[in-house]
Symmetry: C2
Subunit: 384 residues, 2 copies
Amino acid sequence: MDNFSFHNPTRLHFGKGQIAAVTAEIPENARVLITYGGGSIKRNGTLEQVLAALKKHTVLQFGGIEPNPTYETLMKAVELARKEQIDFLLAVGGGSVIDGTKFIAAAIPFEGDPWQILSERAAVTRAIPAGNVLTLPATGSESNAAAVVTRRETSDKLSFISPEVYPQFAILDPETTYSLPVSQSANGVVDAFVHVMEQYLTVREGAQVQDRYAEGLLLTLIEEGPKVLSQPDNYDVRATIMWTANQALNGLIGRGVAQDWSTHMIGHELTALYGLDHAKTLAIILPSVMDVMRKQKADKILQYGQRIWGISSGSDQERIDAAIEKTRDFFEQMGIKTRLADYGIGADEVVKLIDQLKRHNMIALGEKQNITLELSESILRKAL
Amino acid sequence: MDNFSFHNPTRLHFGKGQIAAVTAEIPENARVLITYGGGSIKRNGTLEQVLAALKKHTVLQFGGIEPNPTYETLMKAVELARKEQIDFLLAVGGGSVIDGTKFIAAAIPFEGDPWQILSERAAVTRAIPAGNVLTLPATGSESNAAAVVTRRETSDKLSFISPEVYPQFAILDPETTYSLPVSQSANGVVDAFVHVMEQYLTVREGAQVQDRYAEGLLLTLIEEGPKVLSQPDNYDVRATIMWTANQALNGLIGRGVAQDWSTHMIGHELTALYGLDHAKTLAIILPSVMDVMRKQKADKILQYGQRIWGISSGSDQERIDAAIEKTRDFFEQMGIKTRLADYGIGADEVVKLIDQLKRHNMIALGEKQNITLELSESILRKAL
């Protein structure tokens, strides 16, 4: 196990009716900006509950944050927040709204062009305090320090991480997720699954607790994920998925171990160029990363195959093939296609994607920084 | 899953050489009292490393905190700290030193008789800030808000919980544990195992993540625990055990689920009356709790038997018997005897133990508060 430090400062309030906890979490004299997306929180009653909790606060609203939140939209919120002297942000939505709100929080007090936070990873030394009401379990953004933002005009999808943007609190009420469209529920399960895999499926290194935790989350997603599609109003299922997605990326399972975020990095380019849902890009790329990196990851893929899918017979290569196939099948079972061709993306696009990776300096990915552009190209070609 | 809130504020620094992190964790102008136990930290070099990290700080020392720390000893530290205007406590040791230091931290600013914190669970509204350097993985005290203290003169072993006594930081350097006596290493593994069981082995309630996490910790302790005895200098083994024991009682696996601390509560009386090591009391009582409460816990014991020990054949009662037997065998494998008779405690002592439980108002234990004194008596008799 590698040395590590760990501290997750976000206060979590999980369960039915927990939106009421917002009242005590935000200072009474704060000027609050509620940020949200396309308006589903108005239709499903979540916004109403939030406003009821904040009836003694000064509250403004900013809607219209897109899936894969854009710099262009977020800067409008920054402008509004500066003008209105907002001193607390409350994101109400899924990972896109929460990610976007982290950027807004960092950009408000930023001196200089806030785009540098993403393009140059300029240090974020201050941010406006923020909390969130999660309505789409998937990204774990509700209690981590990372955010991904897209600049539409240049097709850049870039991330930043700063302890300054850890949410102060996160409200996870599974009932807010009953009304999610099937595709978003499915995306959330696959997103969480891949988050776990990227912290788990690297090299074997004697980190048993992290392995067992990761495996526990994977098994839970496999058991409960399909139920989200067939029983969307089942509280226990929604609660389990919400807690699993949170644990998948709150920092815990990744402490002290190697990580491989190549699937995300390659996937980001698919979203930036073709607008594919984030989770769909992950479902396309992960099986291919497993295939191309099968030698380096052999021990861990075999462990994964055995413990998650009960694959215990055949040669190592056969077992690895079976583990990849099971992974792909699970994504397909969740209704998510796993081939570029399924989305109309052909072999002639691979060069463009590699150019994007090069432009974003994604030239040494993976747990050993040895996924070169050449290997990324192999990964994309295997995903056709 | 039940509603819950979760926030663990303790900053963890895990790994080789992390004692150096103490320097930045304690304000430079603080007056620090280092608290410790019997002096092993002097012999194994841990104190030296701590003092090196604090060479610019004002440091006093208070040694002699016993296993099962006593109120009598701790109050001497309170007196010293008040006189010397200590404003930061640094516990260097295992759970007893850290528990004791939590009490010291709460008692220093307490108005009135600090014994009330334990005897009446008087509210702790302030505490001196504290951190710790853990040298014995077992209790999880390094990053939780609970402490247990014994009053020698009255044979009371009582606990308190307050968010005010969460350690600000915890240093977990597995190398500090190389020199532990075999019996303490074994006690630590069993203590952590039982902590997990008390949050896991209750009723089945659709909390899959918590179940899988708990099972992951149990499997890890079963795989790695015996290696601590045979390979005391194996860093990976020591690191895994240290991280497992931390996770076993940092609050995470117990969120949103029923808990049953009857084993601890009954065990405390064995320590209070006969001075048995804490872990040994747990190894005696847990199998007996499983046996007596087998009906209420049937679903979970069967799940435990299947997932942890691979017990999948026989009638339910046979499988439950087998699961209890495996649990007992594991403790014995760790060198810890599991019968009261092994410690010279006979049937005639049961009445005394029940009197103690009654005096401490432990009359409704377990996840359903239905372990009456009569059932506790059955549990003790089954443990003879």
